[in-house]
Protein backbone atom coordinates (compact mmCIF):
# COMPACT_ATOMS: atom_id res chain seq x y z
CA UNK A 1 0.00 0.00 0.00
CA UNK A 2 1.52 3.34 -0.98
CA UNK A 3 2.12 5.88 1.77
CA UNK A 4 -0.20 8.86 1.38
CA UNK A 5 -0.20 12.33 2.92
CA UNK A 6 -3.12 11.31 5.14
CA UNK A 7 -1.05 8.49 6.62
CA UNK A 8 1.76 10.88 7.46
CA UNK A 9 -0.53 13.47 9.06
CA UNK A 10 -2.37 10.75 10.97
CA UNK A 11 0.98 9.55 12.23
CA UNK A 12 1.95 13.03 13.41
CA UNK A 13 -1.41 13.37 15.20
CA UNK A 14 -0.90 10.04 16.97
CA UNK A 15 2.56 11.15 18.04
CA UNK A 16 1.28 14.43 19.46
CA UNK A 17 -1.56 12.71 21.33
CA UNK A 18 0.91 10.27 22.90
CA UNK A 19 3.33 13.13 23.59
CA UNK A 20 0.82 14.86 25.86
CA UNK A 21 0.86 11.86 28.16
CA UNK A 22 4.65 11.60 28.01
CA UNK A 23 5.04 15.25 28.99
CA UNK A 24 2.70 14.86 31.95
CA UNK A 25 4.44 11.65 33.00
CA UNK A 26 7.76 13.49 33.03
CA UNK A 27 6.92 16.88 34.48
CA UNK A 28 6.45 15.65 38.05
CA UNK A 29 9.81 13.92 38.13
CA UNK A 30 11.45 16.95 36.55
CA UNK A 31 10.01 19.13 39.33
CA UNK A 32 11.24 16.80 42.09
CA UNK A 33 14.65 16.40 40.50
CA UNK A 34 14.99 20.14 39.97
CA UNK A 35 14.17 21.02 43.58
CA UNK A 36 15.74 18.18 45.53
CA UNK A 37 18.31 16.70 43.15
CA UNK A 38 16.63 13.40 43.97
CA UNK A 39 15.86 10.92 41.23
CA UNK A 40 12.70 9.11 42.27
CA UNK A 41 13.16 5.75 40.53
CA UNK A 42 9.66 4.79 41.65
CA UNK A 43 8.08 7.58 39.57
CA UNK A 44 7.10 5.08 36.87
CA UNK A 45 5.65 2.82 39.56
CA UNK A 46 3.63 5.79 40.89
CA UNK A 47 2.16 6.23 37.41
CA UNK A 48 1.22 2.55 37.29
CA UNK A 49 -0.40 2.69 40.75
CA UNK A 50 -2.60 5.55 39.60
CA UNK A 51 -3.43 3.73 36.39
CA UNK A 52 -4.70 0.77 38.41
CA UNK A 53 -6.63 3.04 40.76
CA UNK A 54 -8.47 4.36 37.70
CA UNK A 55 -8.97 0.86 36.28
CA UNK A 56 -10.32 -0.50 39.58
CA UNK A 57 -12.51 2.59 39.96
CA UNK A 58 -13.95 2.05 36.48
CA UNK A 59 -14.71 -1.60 37.21
CA UNK A 60 -15.93 -1.38 40.81
CA UNK A 61 -17.38 2.10 41.33
CA UNK A 62 -18.51 3.35 37.93
CA UNK A 63 -21.36 0.80 37.55
CA UNK A 64 -22.52 1.36 41.14
CA UNK A 65 -22.22 5.11 41.51
CA UNK A 66 -22.71 5.99 37.83
CA UNK A 67 -19.64 8.17 37.92
CA UNK A 68 -17.62 8.57 34.78
CA UNK A 69 -14.19 6.92 35.16
CA UNK A 70 -12.67 10.29 34.24
CA UNK A 71 -13.53 11.49 37.77
CA UNK A 72 -11.07 8.98 39.15
CA UNK A 73 -8.24 11.19 37.89
CA UNK A 74 -8.99 13.57 40.77
CA UNK A 75 -8.75 10.56 43.06
CA UNK A 76 -5.43 9.56 41.44
CA UNK A 77 -4.05 13.01 42.16
CA UNK A 78 -5.06 12.80 45.83
CA UNK A 79 -3.98 9.20 46.39
CA UNK A 80 -0.56 9.81 44.87
CA UNK A 81 -0.04 12.99 46.90
CA UNK A 82 -0.58 10.89 50.03
CA UNK A 83 1.70 8.22 48.61
CA UNK A 84 4.33 10.79 47.76
CA UNK A 85 4.31 12.29 51.26
CA UNK A 86 4.58 8.81 52.83
CA UNK A 87 7.48 7.96 50.52
CA UNK A 88 9.16 11.24 51.32
CA UNK A 89 9.06 10.74 55.08
CA UNK A 90 9.59 7.00 54.94
CA UNK A 91 12.46 6.75 52.49
CA UNK A 92 13.89 10.09 51.47
CA UNK A 93 13.79 12.49 54.39
CA UNK A 94 16.59 10.82 56.33
CA UNK A 95 18.85 10.16 53.36
CA UNK A 96 18.46 13.18 51.10
CA UNK A 97 21.31 15.23 52.55
CA UNK A 98 23.71 12.31 52.57
CA UNK A 99 24.23 12.03 48.85
CA UNK A 100 22.58 10.82 45.72
CA UNK A 101 22.71 7.06 46.28
CA UNK A 102 20.42 6.69 49.31
CA UNK A 103 17.18 7.94 47.76
CA UNK A 104 18.12 6.26 44.47
CA UNK A 105 18.41 2.80 46.02
CA UNK A 106 15.46 3.30 48.36
CA UNK A 107 13.09 4.31 45.57
CA UNK A 108 14.41 1.53 43.32
CA UNK A 109 13.49 -0.94 46.04
CA UNK A 110 10.11 0.73 46.40
CA UNK A 111 9.38 0.28 42.70
CA UNK A 112 10.06 -3.46 42.94
CA UNK A 113 7.82 -3.66 46.00
CA UNK A 114 5.02 -1.80 44.23
CA UNK A 115 5.22 -4.10 41.23
CA UNK A 116 4.92 -7.12 43.53
CA UNK A 117 1.96 -5.73 45.45
CA UNK A 118 0.01 -4.74 42.35
CA UNK A 119 0.40 -8.22 40.90
CA UNK A 120 0.10 -10.36 44.02
CA UNK A 121 -1.41 -8.13 46.69
CA UNK A 122 -0.06 -8.40 50.19
CA UNK A 123 -1.51 -11.68 51.35
CA UNK A 124 -0.17 -13.96 54.07
CA UNK A 125 -1.40 -17.54 54.48
CA UNK A 126 -1.93 -18.50 58.11
CA UNK A 127 -2.14 -22.21 58.80
CA UNK A 128 -3.70 -23.11 62.13
CA UNK A 129 -4.08 -26.86 61.62
CA UNK A 130 -3.80 -29.14 58.56
CA UNK A 131 -7.49 -28.64 57.84
CA UNK A 132 -7.85 -25.00 58.83
CA UNK A 133 -6.04 -22.19 57.15
CA UNK A 134 -6.80 -18.52 56.60
CA UNK A 135 -5.45 -15.89 54.36
CA UNK A 136 -4.59 -12.58 55.93
CA UNK A 137 -5.26 -10.03 53.19
CA UNK A 138 -3.53 -6.74 53.96
CA UNK A 139 -3.81 -5.49 50.39
CA UNK A 140 -5.87 -7.39 47.80
CA UNK A 141 -4.63 -8.01 44.29
CA UNK A 142 -4.81 -4.65 42.57
CA UNK A 143 -4.39 -5.79 38.97
CA UNK A 144 -7.82 -7.12 37.88
CA UNK A 145 -6.32 -8.76 34.78
CA UNK A 146 -3.74 -10.78 36.72
CA UNK A 147 -0.94 -9.63 34.48
CA UNK A 148 -2.67 -9.72 31.11
CA UNK A 149 -2.99 -5.97 30.70
CA UNK A 150 -5.95 -3.88 31.83
CA UNK A 151 -7.59 -0.71 30.55
CA UNK A 152 -10.18 1.59 32.11
CA UNK A 153 -13.64 0.04 31.59
CA UNK A 154 -17.08 1.57 31.14
CA UNK A 155 -15.86 4.54 29.17
CA UNK A 156 -18.98 5.91 27.54
CA UNK A 157 -16.94 7.30 24.68
CA UNK A 158 -14.30 4.59 24.32
CA UNK A 159 -15.24 3.81 20.74
CA UNK A 160 -16.06 7.37 19.68
CA UNK A 161 -13.76 8.69 17.03
CA UNK A 162 -13.58 12.24 15.77
CA UNK A 163 -12.96 12.34 12.04
CA UNK A 164 -11.53 15.50 10.50
CA UNK A 165 -11.00 15.14 6.78
CA UNK A 166 -9.77 11.58 6.99
CA UNK A 167 -7.62 12.15 10.08
CA UNK A 168 -9.04 10.30 13.06
CA UNK A 169 -8.89 11.35 16.70
CA UNK A 170 -10.00 8.60 19.11
CA UNK A 171 -11.88 10.38 21.91
CA UNK A 172 -10.09 8.80 24.90
CA UNK A 173 -6.77 9.87 23.40
CA UNK A 174 -8.11 13.33 22.70
CA UNK A 175 -9.41 13.75 26.26
CA UNK A 176 -6.10 12.50 27.66
CA UNK A 177 -4.19 14.96 25.53
CA UNK A 178 -6.38 17.90 26.54
CA UNK A 179 -6.02 17.02 30.23
CA UNK A 180 -2.24 16.90 29.92
CA UNK A 181 -2.23 20.10 27.94
CA UNK A 182 -4.29 21.87 30.64
CA UNK A 183 -2.46 20.51 33.66
CA UNK A 184 1.03 21.59 32.67
CA UNK A 185 0.23 25.29 32.11
CA UNK A 186 -1.67 25.24 35.43
CA UNK A 187 1.49 23.91 37.10
CA UNK A 188 3.47 26.66 35.41
CA UNK A 189 1.07 29.28 36.77
CA UNK A 190 1.31 27.81 40.27
CA UNK A 191 5.10 27.88 40.17
CA UNK A 192 5.35 31.44 38.90
CA UNK A 193 2.39 33.22 40.49
CA UNK A 194 2.12 31.94 44.06
CA UNK A 195 4.39 32.31 47.08
CA UNK A 196 4.89 28.58 47.57
CA UNK A 197 5.37 28.04 43.85
CA UNK A 198 8.08 30.68 43.80
CA UNK A 199 9.47 29.17 47.00
CA UNK A 200 9.82 25.85 45.18
CA UNK A 201 11.64 27.55 42.31
CA UNK A 202 13.88 29.47 44.71
CA UNK A 203 14.76 26.25 46.55
CA UNK A 204 15.61 24.63 43.22
CA UNK A 205 17.89 27.48 42.18
CA UNK A 206 19.79 27.99 45.45
CA UNK A 207 18.50 26.20 48.52
CA UNK A 208 20.85 27.94 50.94
CA UNK A 209 19.84 31.36 49.68
CA UNK A 210 16.21 30.23 49.97
CA UNK A 211 16.81 29.31 53.62
CA UNK A 212 18.37 32.59 54.70
CA UNK A 213 15.78 34.56 52.72
CA UNK A 214 13.26 33.15 55.18
CA UNK A 215 11.75 30.28 53.16
CA UNK A 216 11.04 27.10 55.12
CA UNK A 217 12.70 24.76 52.63
CA UNK A 218 11.48 21.69 54.47
CA UNK A 219 7.98 22.79 53.48
CA UNK A 220 8.88 23.57 49.86
CA UNK A 221 10.65 20.20 49.52
CA UNK A 222 7.69 18.23 50.87
CA UNK A 223 5.37 20.29 48.69
CA UNK A 224 7.37 19.68 45.52
CA UNK A 225 7.62 15.95 46.21
CA UNK A 226 3.89 15.73 46.92
CA UNK A 227 3.02 17.77 43.84
CA UNK A 228 5.40 15.79 41.61
CA UNK A 229 3.86 12.55 42.85
CA UNK A 230 0.34 13.91 42.36
CA UNK A 231 1.22 14.75 38.76
CA UNK A 232 2.38 11.15 38.29
CA UNK A 233 -1.11 10.27 39.54
CA UNK A 234 -2.84 12.35 36.85
CA UNK A 235 -0.51 10.88 34.23
CA UNK A 236 -1.34 7.37 35.41
CA UNK A 237 -5.07 8.00 35.17
CA UNK A 238 -4.65 9.24 31.64
CA UNK A 239 -2.50 6.24 30.81
CA UNK A 240 -5.27 3.86 31.90
CA UNK A 241 -7.69 5.53 29.46
CA UNK A 242 -5.58 5.00 26.39
CA UNK A 243 -3.29 2.04 26.95
CA UNK A 244 -3.37 -1.47 28.29
CA UNK A 245 -1.53 -1.23 31.60
CA UNK A 246 0.70 -4.03 32.84
CA UNK A 247 1.83 -4.36 36.44
CA UNK A 248 5.30 -5.18 35.17
CA UNK A 249 5.57 -1.59 33.92
CA UNK A 250 5.92 -0.58 37.57
CA UNK A 251 9.57 -1.58 37.35
CA UNK A 252 11.90 0.94 35.77
CA UNK A 253 10.72 0.38 32.18
CA UNK A 254 9.00 3.79 31.88
CA UNK A 255 12.05 5.66 33.14
CA UNK A 256 14.34 5.83 30.07
CA UNK A 257 11.78 7.77 28.04
CA UNK A 258 10.86 9.98 30.99
CA UNK A 259 14.51 10.79 31.65
CA UNK A 260 15.09 11.52 27.96
CA UNK A 261 12.20 14.01 28.04
CA UNK A 262 13.40 15.64 31.25
CA UNK A 263 16.89 16.14 29.87
CA UNK A 264 15.61 17.40 26.51
CA UNK A 265 13.25 19.85 28.19
CA UNK A 266 15.84 21.08 30.66
CA UNK A 267 15.64 19.91 34.28
CA UNK A 268 13.02 21.85 36.20
CA UNK A 269 11.60 23.62 33.15
CA UNK A 270 7.87 22.97 33.06
CA UNK A 271 7.13 24.39 29.62
CA UNK A 272 10.35 22.82 28.34
CA UNK A 273 9.12 19.41 29.51
CA UNK A 274 5.80 19.93 27.75
CA UNK A 275 7.52 20.70 24.46
CA UNK A 276 10.04 17.89 24.91
CA UNK A 277 7.20 15.45 25.62
CA UNK A 278 5.43 16.41 22.40
CA UNK A 279 8.71 16.21 20.45
CA UNK A 280 9.51 12.76 21.82
CA UNK A 281 5.94 11.62 21.08
CA UNK A 282 6.41 12.76 17.48
CA UNK A 283 9.85 11.14 17.35
CA UNK A 284 8.54 7.78 18.52
CA UNK A 285 5.60 7.65 16.14
CA UNK A 286 7.74 9.05 13.31
CA UNK A 287 10.49 6.51 13.87
CA UNK A 288 8.01 3.67 14.11
CA UNK A 289 6.29 4.85 10.96
CA UNK A 290 9.59 5.10 9.12
CA UNK A 291 10.68 1.71 10.42
CA UNK A 292 7.43 0.04 9.50
CA UNK A 293 6.83 1.62 6.11
CA UNK A 294 10.34 2.00 4.77
CA UNK A 295 13.06 0.19 6.67
CA UNK A 296 11.28 -3.17 6.87
CA UNK A 297 11.38 -3.25 3.07
CA UNK A 298 15.15 -3.38 3.41
CA UNK A 299 14.83 -6.26 5.86
CA UNK A 300 15.38 -4.22 9.02
CA UNK A 301 13.40 -5.56 12.00
CA UNK A 302 10.18 -3.64 12.64
CA UNK A 303 11.14 -2.56 16.17
CA UNK A 304 14.06 -0.52 14.88
CA UNK A 305 11.85 2.53 15.62
CA UNK A 306 12.91 2.54 19.27
CA UNK A 307 16.54 2.55 18.23
CA UNK A 308 15.90 5.46 15.86
CA UNK A 309 14.19 7.44 18.63
CA UNK A 310 17.13 7.17 20.99
CA UNK A 311 19.60 7.77 18.16
CA UNK A 312 17.93 11.10 17.41
CA UNK A 313 17.86 11.82 21.15
CA UNK A 314 21.62 11.24 21.32
CA UNK A 315 22.26 13.56 18.40
CA UNK A 316 20.17 16.31 20.03
CA UNK A 317 22.15 15.88 23.24
CA UNK A 318 25.43 16.24 21.37
CA UNK A 319 24.30 19.53 19.90
CA UNK A 320 22.58 20.88 23.02
CA UNK A 321 23.82 18.99 26.08
CA UNK A 322 21.46 20.77 28.45
CA UNK A 323 18.29 20.35 26.42
CA UNK A 324 16.08 22.90 24.71
CA UNK A 325 15.49 25.08 27.74
CA UNK A 326 18.26 24.14 30.12
CA UNK A 327 21.13 26.42 30.96
CA UNK A 328 24.32 25.61 29.13
CA UNK A 329 26.67 24.61 31.90
CA UNK A 330 30.08 26.14 31.45
Amino acid sequence: MPVGLTDIVQNLVNGLLQGGFLALASVGLSLIYGVQKILNIAHGAFIVIAAFVTIDFSILLTPVLHLDPLISIVLDFGVLIVFGVLTYFGLIYKTENKGFEGPLLATFGLSIFIEYVITNGLIFPITISPTQSYRLVLIPVIDPSYGNGAIAQNQAYSSNVLNLGGITFPEPQLIAFLLAFLTIPLLHLFLTRTYYGNGIRATAQDWEAAEFSGIDIRKTRILSFALGSGLAGIAGGIYAFTNSVFATEADVSLLPLILAIIILGGVGSVIGTLIAGLVVGLLISGSNFLALEVLTQYSFPSDIGVLLTFLIFLIVLMVRPSGFFGKVVK
Partner: protein
Protein backbone atom coordinates in the same frame (compact mmCIF):
# COMPACT_ATOMS: atom_id res chain seq x y z
CA UNK B 1 22.39 31.90 59.93
CA UNK B 2 21.84 28.30 60.93
CA UNK B 3 23.16 26.75 57.73
CA UNK B 4 26.55 25.79 59.10
CA UNK B 5 26.06 23.96 62.40
CA UNK B 6 27.99 25.50 65.25
CA UNK B 7 30.61 23.23 66.69
CA UNK B 8 31.05 25.20 69.89
CA UNK B 9 29.79 28.24 71.74
CA UNK B 10 26.48 29.98 71.34
CA UNK B 11 24.94 32.90 69.53
CA UNK B 12 22.56 34.92 71.66
CA UNK B 13 20.26 37.62 70.30
CA UNK B 14 17.89 39.65 72.48
CA UNK B 15 18.40 37.21 75.31
CA UNK B 16 17.57 34.02 73.44
CA UNK B 17 19.84 31.46 71.84
CA UNK B 18 19.86 31.06 68.06
CA UNK B 19 21.94 27.92 68.24
CA UNK B 20 19.31 25.30 67.45
CA UNK B 21 17.17 27.42 65.12
CA UNK B 22 16.80 26.78 61.42
CA UNK B 23 17.56 29.71 59.11
CA UNK B 24 13.98 30.70 58.34
CA UNK B 25 13.21 30.93 62.08
CA UNK B 26 16.21 33.18 62.55
CA UNK B 27 14.78 35.43 59.83
CA UNK B 28 11.49 35.37 61.77
CA UNK B 29 13.38 36.78 64.77
CA UNK B 30 14.12 39.94 62.81
CA UNK B 31 17.62 39.08 61.64
CA UNK B 32 18.34 39.31 57.90
CA UNK B 33 21.39 38.34 55.95
CA UNK B 34 22.95 39.67 52.75
CA UNK B 35 25.52 37.07 51.75
CA UNK B 36 28.85 37.51 50.05
CA UNK B 37 28.35 37.19 46.32
CA UNK B 38 24.64 38.19 46.64
CA UNK B 39 23.21 34.68 46.04
CA UNK B 40 20.13 35.81 44.13
CA UNK B 41 17.77 33.33 42.46
CA UNK B 42 19.21 33.75 38.97
CA UNK B 43 16.19 32.64 36.94
CA UNK B 44 13.64 34.65 38.85
CA UNK B 45 12.68 38.27 38.26
CA UNK B 46 13.79 41.14 40.48
CA UNK B 47 10.34 41.36 42.01
CA UNK B 48 10.14 37.60 42.67
CA UNK B 49 13.57 37.66 44.28
CA UNK B 50 12.58 40.47 46.60
CA UNK B 51 9.23 38.82 47.39
CA UNK B 52 11.04 35.75 48.69
CA UNK B 53 12.40 37.80 51.59
CA UNK B 54 8.92 38.47 52.99
CA UNK B 55 6.88 35.98 55.03
CA UNK B 56 4.47 33.58 53.29
CA UNK B 57 1.45 35.47 54.58
CA UNK B 58 2.03 39.16 54.57
CA UNK B 59 -0.72 41.80 54.84
CA UNK B 60 1.46 44.83 54.15
CA UNK B 61 3.37 43.36 51.22
CA UNK B 62 2.80 46.44 49.10
CA UNK B 63 4.15 48.79 51.77
CA UNK B 64 7.26 46.62 52.15
CA UNK B 65 7.83 46.65 48.39
CA UNK B 66 7.34 50.42 48.32
CA UNK B 67 10.00 50.90 51.01
CA UNK B 68 12.52 48.86 49.00
CA UNK B 69 11.68 50.68 45.77
CA UNK B 70 11.96 54.03 47.54
CA UNK B 71 15.46 53.07 48.64
CA UNK B 72 16.46 51.67 45.24
CA UNK B 73 14.29 53.33 42.55
CA UNK B 74 16.23 51.53 39.80
CA UNK B 75 14.82 48.20 41.01
CA UNK B 76 11.28 49.43 40.41
CA UNK B 77 12.15 50.06 36.77
CA UNK B 78 13.73 46.63 36.49
CA UNK B 79 11.25 44.66 38.57
CA UNK B 80 10.33 42.33 35.69
CA UNK B 81 13.91 41.68 34.63
CA UNK B 82 15.62 38.36 35.31
CA UNK B 83 18.06 38.70 38.22
CA UNK B 84 21.01 37.17 36.39
CA UNK B 85 20.91 39.92 33.75
CA UNK B 86 21.48 42.75 36.27
CA UNK B 87 24.79 44.50 36.90
CA UNK B 88 26.73 43.66 40.07
CA UNK B 89 25.55 46.79 41.85
CA UNK B 90 21.92 46.20 40.96
CA UNK B 91 22.20 42.62 42.12
CA UNK B 92 23.57 43.84 45.44
CA UNK B 93 20.56 46.15 45.73
CA UNK B 94 18.20 43.22 45.09
CA UNK B 95 19.98 41.17 47.77
CA UNK B 96 19.61 44.03 50.26
CA UNK B 97 16.00 44.60 49.22
CA UNK B 98 15.23 40.91 49.70
CA UNK B 99 16.77 41.03 53.18
CA UNK B 100 14.72 44.13 54.10
CA UNK B 101 11.39 42.50 53.23
CA UNK B 102 11.28 40.69 56.56
CA UNK B 103 11.46 44.05 58.43
CA UNK B 104 14.72 43.15 60.20
CA UNK B 105 15.94 44.78 63.40
CA UNK B 106 19.43 43.52 62.61
CA UNK B 107 20.89 43.35 59.11
CA UNK B 108 24.00 41.26 58.50
CA UNK B 109 26.08 42.35 55.50
CA UNK B 110 28.85 40.11 54.25
CA UNK B 111 31.50 41.69 52.00
CA UNK B 112 29.25 44.39 50.60
CA UNK B 113 31.99 45.72 48.33
CA UNK B 114 32.54 42.33 46.69
CA UNK B 115 32.69 42.80 42.92
CA UNK B 116 31.42 46.39 42.99
CA UNK B 117 33.01 49.45 41.42
CA UNK B 118 34.03 52.14 43.96
CA UNK B 119 31.19 54.39 42.79
CA UNK B 120 28.62 51.60 43.09
CA UNK B 121 29.96 50.72 46.53
CA UNK B 122 29.39 54.35 47.61
CA UNK B 123 25.81 54.22 46.30
CA UNK B 124 25.12 51.05 48.23
CA UNK B 125 26.75 52.43 51.40
CA UNK B 126 24.54 55.50 51.11
CA UNK B 127 21.48 53.27 51.08
CA UNK B 128 22.80 51.33 54.07
CA UNK B 129 23.13 54.57 56.04
CA UNK B 130 19.50 55.35 55.23
CA UNK B 131 18.46 51.91 56.45
CA UNK B 132 20.27 52.58 59.71
CA UNK B 133 18.52 55.93 60.10
CA UNK B 134 15.21 54.04 59.89
CA UNK B 135 16.15 52.07 62.98
CA UNK B 136 17.78 48.88 61.75
CA UNK B 137 21.06 47.86 63.35
CA UNK B 138 23.73 46.85 60.90
CA UNK B 139 26.59 44.41 61.30
CA UNK B 140 28.94 44.31 58.35
CA UNK B 141 31.98 42.20 57.61
CA UNK B 142 34.01 44.30 55.21
CA UNK B 143 37.51 44.22 53.84
CA UNK B 144 37.47 47.84 52.72
CA UNK B 145 38.60 48.88 56.21
CA UNK B 146 38.95 52.56 55.45
CA UNK B 147 35.32 53.09 54.39
CA UNK B 148 34.04 50.62 56.96
CA UNK B 149 35.68 52.65 59.75
CA UNK B 150 34.28 55.89 58.39
CA UNK B 151 30.64 54.79 58.26
CA UNK B 152 30.43 52.56 61.32
CA UNK B 153 30.00 53.28 65.06
CA UNK B 154 32.03 50.39 66.40
CA UNK B 155 34.72 48.21 64.85
CA UNK B 156 35.98 44.74 65.71
CA UNK B 157 39.06 43.29 64.06
CA UNK B 158 39.00 39.51 63.77
CA UNK B 159 42.23 37.63 63.36
CA UNK B 160 42.20 33.86 63.10
CA UNK B 161 38.74 33.75 64.59
CA UNK B 162 39.51 35.91 67.62
CA UNK B 163 38.69 39.56 68.23
CA UNK B 164 42.05 41.29 68.56
CA UNK B 165 41.05 44.93 68.37
CA UNK B 166 37.72 46.45 69.36
CA UNK B 167 36.51 49.96 69.95
CA UNK B 168 34.77 53.04 68.64
CA UNK B 169 35.40 53.47 64.94
CA UNK B 170 36.13 57.17 65.39
CA UNK B 171 38.94 56.29 67.78
CA UNK B 172 40.30 53.37 65.79
CA UNK B 173 40.35 55.18 62.48
CA UNK B 174 43.88 56.47 63.03
CA UNK B 175 45.09 53.44 64.95
CA UNK B 176 48.25 52.06 63.31
CA UNK B 177 47.37 48.56 64.58
CA UNK B 178 44.47 48.41 62.11
CA UNK B 179 46.71 48.82 59.11
CA UNK B 180 49.10 46.27 60.50
CA UNK B 181 46.32 43.79 61.02
CA UNK B 182 44.97 44.30 57.51
CA UNK B 183 48.23 44.19 55.66
CA UNK B 184 49.65 41.45 57.81
CA UNK B 185 53.00 43.17 58.04
CA UNK B 186 54.80 44.48 61.05
CA UNK B 187 56.48 47.81 60.48
Amino acid sequence: MGIVKQSDGDVVYNGSSLRSLRPHSIVNRSISYVPEGRRLFPEMSVKENIRMGAPARCNDLKERFDRVFLLFPVLKERRGQQASTLSGGEQQMVAIGRALMSNPKLLLLDELSFGLSPIMFENVLFAIEKIRENGTSILMAEQNSERALEVSDRTYVLENGKITIAGKSSELIDDPRIQTAYLGVVS
